[in-house]
């Protein structure tokens, strides 16, 4: 019995909790991608770098607040800096839309042209972030590090395995939940949200019924800025902030959005968790967990790791391919332009 509990705790500690936090971060990122896809009808390659930009602004504000001695006690100061980061990113995205994307929208350019344009924006944002904060790792988490430490858990339960829950993981889940609830309330209950969904479903009909497209687009960018910044800051708090990692997040984020069904917000959330759980499960070495579960004789010699951690991109990719082959519109019927 204790063995079973130990195995369960080890599994939660190394797979379940980290994967849930990672899944929530991916889901927020994928929501941004899916919203842009639904309203503006292209795959935004600059999304990873938008996240990096928002996080960078937040990091800079955090440092400024820290230098003033302002903090949130046990919570990271970055939460206080988050609104400023969101506002800055929203301004940037609105400016990008005004200078870059609006021209192509007026032309009714093909989606693939917009994708290439977003590649250009990606270069600029990437350069900008490296220019301002540099390409190196930045840590900006402060406050209490753990909600429960492994040792406290062991003392509490008397088990051999410890269960540690980091503050950042807790914050990730709580924040993600609040954001998702707000977003769905906005999309389903408010007039503006309804006009956005109408625009996404059928642009021409929406225009005929008097919806102002520029307003819908502007609001979309603002929401995307908020989602991207929050996702980026949560990821940065949980791990660390490095511009190149954010660029690489593009693949799992897109995989989440596509697996869920591009254009479908529920799908984006489901996709985020599917990708995160598979990534962490497949790259985790199960030696410890199996050691508790199996009789001594059968105990594995190796690490029992299906794939090395460096292949985590391969996992999101394989899931993506499987879903595309057998259900091309994603788990929750997305749209196809």
């Amino acid at each position: 019995m204790t063995d079973l509990l130990n195995a369960l705790v080890a599994f939660s500690n190394f797979v379940l909790i980290p994967a849930t936090a990672y899944g929530a971060q991916l889901a927020l990122g994928a929501l941004g991608v899916t919203l842009i896809y639904g309203i503006l009808r292209f795959s935004n390659f600059a999304h990873g770098d938008t996240m990096a930009f928002g996080t960078m602004l937040t990091v800079l504000f955090t440092w400024w607040l820290q230098s003033l001695g302002v903090g949130l006690g046990p919570l990271p100061t970055a939460l206080l800096a988050l609104p400023a980061g969101i506002a800055g990113t929203a301004l940037l995205l609105l400016a990008t839309d005004r200078v870059v994307y609006r021209f192509y929208r007026a032309q009714k350019a093909k989606p693939v042209i917009l994708v290439i344009v977003s590649m250009g924006v990606m270069f600029i944002l990437n350069g900008l972030v490296r220019f301002i904060i540099g390409p190196d790792d930045q840590r900006f988490a402060d406050g209490e590090r753990f909600i429960i430490t492994a040792r406290a858990f062991k003392e509490m339960t008397g088990l051999d395995e410890g269960l540690a829950i980091r503050t950042t993981q807790g914050i990730t889940l709580v924040t993600a939940m609040i954001v998702v609830v707000l977003l769905f309330w906005f999309l389903n209950r408010t007039r503006t949200g309804k006009s956005m969904r109408a625009f996404s479903d059928n642009e021409d009909l929406a225009l005929l019924s008097g919806i102002n497209p520029e307003r819908v687009v502007a609001i979309t960018w603002i929401i995307v800025a908020a989602l991207a910044t929050i996702a980026g800051v949560l990821y940065g708090l949980d791990k660390s902030f490095k511009p190149f990692t954010y660029f690489q997040l593009l693949l799992p984020i897109f995989a989440s959005a596509i697996v869920g069904g591009l254009g479908s917000p529920v799908g984006a959330i489901a996709g985020g968790f599917v990708i995160a759980y598979s990534e962490v499960t497949i790259t985790y070495a199960f030696k410890k967990v199996l050691g508790y579960l199996l009789p001594e004789r059968l105990e594995p010699d190796g690490l029992v790791q299906l794939l090395s951690t460096d292949y985590k991109f391969a996992v999101s990719f394989v899931i993506l391919v499987i879903v595309l082959l057998f259900r091309p519109t994603g788990l929750f019927r997305g749209k196809a332009v």
Partner: protein, 432 residues
Amino acid sequence: MTMRDALLFVFVALLILGVGFLQSWNTALSILNMGLISAIMALGVNMQWGYAGLFNVGVMGFVALGGLAAVIVAMPPVGAAWAAGGGRMLLALVLGAGVIAGAVALWQRMAKGRARALAMVAWLVAGFFLYRFVFDPAANAIEAVDAASTGYLGGLGLPVLLAWPVGGLLAAGAAWAIGKTALGLRSDYLAIATLGIAEIVIAVLKNEDWLSRGVKNVIGLPRPVPYEVDLQQSPGFVENAQGLGLDPVVASTLYVKLLYAALFLAVLLALIWLAEKALNSPWGRMMRAVRDNEVAAEAMGKDVKARHLQVFILGSAICGLAGAMMTTLDGQLTPSSYQPLRYTFLIWVMVIVGGSGNNWGAVLGGFLIWFLWVEVEPFGAFLMNVLTAGMAEDSGLKAHLLDSVAHMRLLTMGVILLVVLRFSPRGLIPER
């Protein structure tokens, strides 16, 4: 080629010559060599995007496969490693391929339904564990052989020039597998699929030490041209160099670079001749018809999916060829140096700026953008020095600005891409 196009090429040539006169001939020749390779990569991407409208953002993966080919073909085999686990490794690879082929056969033979799905999953899971059972000991045995200097199987010890076509073939094989699954889906999906496969290729190169030594890098690849040291010791060469009034050391590096340039130029000219012939043949017209209106082309009896697969494989093979050439030029394979911004997206900037759909445009874009990529940094440093000249010596902002010059190139490339897309969307040499 019109007069205007020719003038554009003359302009780029003058830029490179300018580097020779103002900076150094060594730098100028380096730019020329990488420019030639970039032009070939751009030709490959142009085939996919310009001819057929396929959106491939996995160029980096194909280039890296070409680099792997250089190692597999040219490095001498490591006998001890082959003895330790070579046979078992081959068996494992055959087994892995067999499992996948079996899964495909299973899928095609069995009737649709739950039984098929279950059988397939069971087959794959069993196959995976069997594969790992054979593979793991082989990989460990090979990697244990003198890990500091070898620890991999080595190559075939053949002339390195042979690696160039082999690189193309490897890339073509990968392209076939991707194309079979991802072509026919929507364009954005192909983009994500290729982006993913490129990351996986790099992950394989970084982690499969038995194959490519991973992050320990393979250095000292054999060269198709003489070594500088040998040249400096050959009396005939020294005499010739002094006859031209050159220092033998300088002369030898320039001579080697020129030989490389001649090899690359020969490949580029052959490829552009073939590409122009293809583009202006019935095949090329069919490709453009497919690109411009798939439905109409299909109604005319053209097999759109097969044509897409064909041109996707061709373009990727050219990228693989260029990758093998680049690794030959570097003389080493460093998997961690493959960055998507440099090897995928920069090539895209070349194609778009040069003119998609036009082979000469892609080549021009390759040279021009590579020149800018290299020269933006010294130019940016100069600009920053001028801008910050008025600031105090110990100003933190000044130090930061000067340090950040290295990141100017990404910014510049983005701006160039957006400006070209906006004001001259068909590029410098538009399609005709």
